[in-house]
Symmetry: C2
Subunit: 506 residues, 2 copies
């Protein structure tokens, strides 16, 4: 039986994990480097990250945060300060033990034995401890609070099974770290930043997300409460796309963030931390991509529009190129979602078909072709990435310019609607253990199983662990808006007060 | 004898290096962390870096470059690939030898002996080798060239005598890395980026710079040619503020960046690299600061304007705050140098004097005070950081809004003019060895000596080394625009063809 031809092999249905790797490659987003687990983020992939940074950074600043920068290295002794943190994070770290190289006498180099550090340094896996030690110096009085700081940085967590964007030894992220006078303020900050992430996911990534709280077993090591956003991707697995932690006074006590209160008493500050990473790029690929490659939500596309000159004869080159450049300039003077429209003009000496398919695979929202006949008519050939690749319209330049911002918003809305339908179709309430097991058991070779299950949980770590071990299913979150509801735990049959969200996950 | 009181002690004349440290502290820019040589860049300091990044990034993109990201870690063997590079860079590096920590049995942690890396990893001191290895995979044909990529990143070079911003173990920078088909293209790129740096220094940092080429002795290890911008700061020393390297085919050969040429022959690519770092912040402090603290060129100021509410009685608070917020909103809707004006409203519960002096020390270009009497009259009290702190004017709100962009540009122009006068006054042609020695010998305890000397040099490494060892004076550059001119070397008396720029330096 003949298959419809697609630009990506295999298709999502045939082998989702391999489809993902092929999209990363075909869209020229990133590649593995020679350093195990460390990726090279290529310009198109990095451009997505830059757009995400702009969006998030604006939202962080609008909520009163400022950026700063803290050291890459953490003294080994700091890692041991917070008991739960050490369990969770002080394991797979890159450890710096020497500060000089010397000749090994065989034409190579070696760490100089004379330059061994008295105390090894850990390459930050996250910065609570080093930032806590700094805040301890900054905070004397309640007047020094709150501290509302974010950092854009690279972090390293040694990974045995790396996967580009989803799980890499080095990745890029932002980590917000705030310190407050009262518990209520810190809790409000934790919730506010979760809201920022959910809004960003919806408005920039075209992703509907579940928001909620992690179970104790899935909490950030050292946190009192971990809130998260969870997205569904097309193999119906969950991906944790951002977390916001209420750290209580745990890190303040470990780091000594103490202040003189309004009542003139020494008190420990209440802290939070929150972060999203380059993992969001992986999330977007898996949420929106199709069998022809990446599909980018317009606000995070490094280019909104690509213009492809069609030059059948060399003597037409100059006039076609000039028309393309003129249209590009007009588009760049147009605003979409508060930013000038980003345009690439692809003048490479390749056939139109080759170029067009490259840009389809890269997920650029809009493709515009201009050839000699378009020049005569004052029109262009116009195609949207959210529609079939043969589906073209032929607006005039003026029509294109007048409609481009609306079109980009429509593409965003289409992607959000599709992702919402996917999520809603595959999020179901499950009542019995039999149905629960069936739901999470793939029906065919695709390995794609049910999706998200809203089911009762008895609240015990025992049940959580059994489900995880037997089905590879975890509690993704206790949804923020779940109503109180009595029912029997889907696994143990014991009483439960509300449903939680179960899924397989990345 | 009584001294005029200044906000910074000591003054620049009394002790320039200590003045620098005190300005960094008083302006709340950065501080040393507990990790030797690693600084914490505080929000006001990081805000300066963010503004610099925006400016440079725009210029890089306008010249056809895109950003990407390469691994933090470099395999040890890569460091040894380019012979001169290894000499220059493979010394004071942070070396990762382990990838896991374990309990040391005494309540602490230690690198797990079982997790020793087969090949140690170096934390990048610069990325020519790892990027070269990546480009080697990307480049097959002349059609794959040029590659025009920039990276914003942190780098680590172990420093024994760290000094905030000027010399730190970890610092932030950008490194451009390009690969070209021909030597001419690579040379043109090297020169273009030097031009970008000189323009940025003038238009964003209000710094006039000398541009030119480094002598062989001062070249980047592995480069064929190192171009640089050199600025004079107020102790009349030079600071290398940016470099652009033509790397010839050296790194291409070491990394194997080979391509099939238009003539169907295997050839090595021609590469360049270029960078500026957080050192620019130190440069700006030393170039423009005065005895009251930092003075920021407006385009890199995290806030252009601070509004200080004056609230003599608590019941006036709301109306004054409302007027301040309203003015802030109007200012933010005004454009300076292509960006919305950045405004802080300082509502902290401190006296007007304390707040005003904090902002003077932070170098904010414009201070605006609004009190109850201003509300009645519809005026503000207005002060510029480039003028004396008592010098105030009292424009109406409308006058302020109409003139603010012009005022900010005037402040920029004033700073540039002052820095140019400083530089021109203390850049002199010197003909004899006696005058040369005298010029570089401080006349008093201030340790401030002559400045920049344009003098003949015989072109030998021997003379260069003698001058460096005896006077701590180096050849900063062979100026780009120096005319051919015969004369005797100021040191050896041997014949010379052109003058070079000598100075003490950071």
């Amino acid at each position: 039986m003949s298959q419809p031809q697609t630009a990506i092999t295999p298709t999502r249905d045939a082998d989702f994990p391999e489809w993902y790797q092929q999209v990363v490659k075909a869209a020229d987003l990133a590649e593995n480097s020679d350093v195990r687990g460390c990726m090279v983020i290529k310009p198109w992939g990095y451009g997505i990250w830059e757009a995400m940074q702009r969006g998030l950074d604006g939202m962080f600043k609008a909520t009163g945060h400022k950026n700063a920068y803290f050291p890459l290295f953490i003294p080994l002794s700091y890692m041991a300060k917070e008991a739960q943190h050490v369990e969770g994070f002080a394991k797979e770290c890159a450890v710096v033990t020497h500060h000089r190289l010397e000749s090994d006498g065989k034409g190579g180099l070696r760490p100089a034995p004379s330059a061994e550090l008295a105390e090894p340094l850990v390459v930050r896996p996250t910065s609570e401890t080093i930032i806590g030690a700094t805040y301890a110096k900054w905070v004397q009085s309640y007047r020094d609070l709150p501290i509302l700081i974010n950092q854009w940085a690279n972090v390293v967590r040694w990974e045995m099974r790396p996967r580009v964007f989803l799980r890499t030894a080095e990745f890029l992220w932002q980590e917000g770290h705030t310190a407050h006078e009262t518990k209520a303020e810190a809790v409000a900050e934790t919730e506010q930043m979760l809201g920022v992430y959910a809004t960003f996911a919806r408005d920039w990534l075209a992703l509907p997300v579940f928001t909620g709280e992690k179970s104790a077993g899935e909490r950030f090591p050292g946190a009192e409460q971990t809130l998260c956003i969870e997205a569904m991707v097309q193999d119906r697995k969950a991906i944790q796309a951002g977390t916001s932690h209420f750290l209580g006074q745990n890190f303040a006590k470990a780091s000594g963030i103490e202040f003189l209160s309004r009542e003139n008493k020494k008190e420990f500050a209440w802290t939070t931390s929150w972060g999203v990473s380059t993992r969001l790029i992986g999330t977007v690929i898996m949420a929106h991509g199709d069998d022809d490659g990446l599909i980018l939500p317009p606000r995070i596309a490094p280019a909104h529009v690509v213009i492809l000159p069609i030059v059948p004869k060399p003597d037409m080159r100059d006039s076609v190129f000039a028309a393309c450049d003129a249209l590009a300039a007009q588009l760049r003077a147009t605003i979409f979602a508060g930013e000038p429209i980003r345009v690439e003009v692809d003048k490479r000496d390749l056939t139109g078909g080759v170029k067009s398919w490259e840009w389809i695979k890269k997920g650029v929202p809009v493709r515009v072709e201009i050839g000699p006949r378009d020049l005569e008519k004052g029109t262009v050939a116009f195609a949207r990435r959210d529609r079939g690749h043969k589906e073209k319209t032929f607006p005039t330049n003026a029509e294109l310019l007048a409609s481009i911002a609306t079109t980009l918003q429509e593409i965003h809305d289409t992607l959000l609607a599709r992702a919402t339908t996917l999520r809603d179709t595959h999020t179901v309430k499950i009542e019995t253990r039999e149905d629960f097991v069936k739901f999470f058991t793939a029906k065919d070779d695709s390995k794609i199983s049910g999706g998200f299950a809203l089911a009762h949980w008895d609240g015990t770590a025992e049940t959580e662990t059994e489900i995880k071990e037997q089905l590879k299913v975890t509690i993704r979150c206790i949804p923020a808006d779940a109503p109180a509801e009595d029912g029997p735990c889907v696994w143990s049959g014991k009483p439960s007060k509300r449903r939680v969200l179960f899924a397989k996950s990345y």
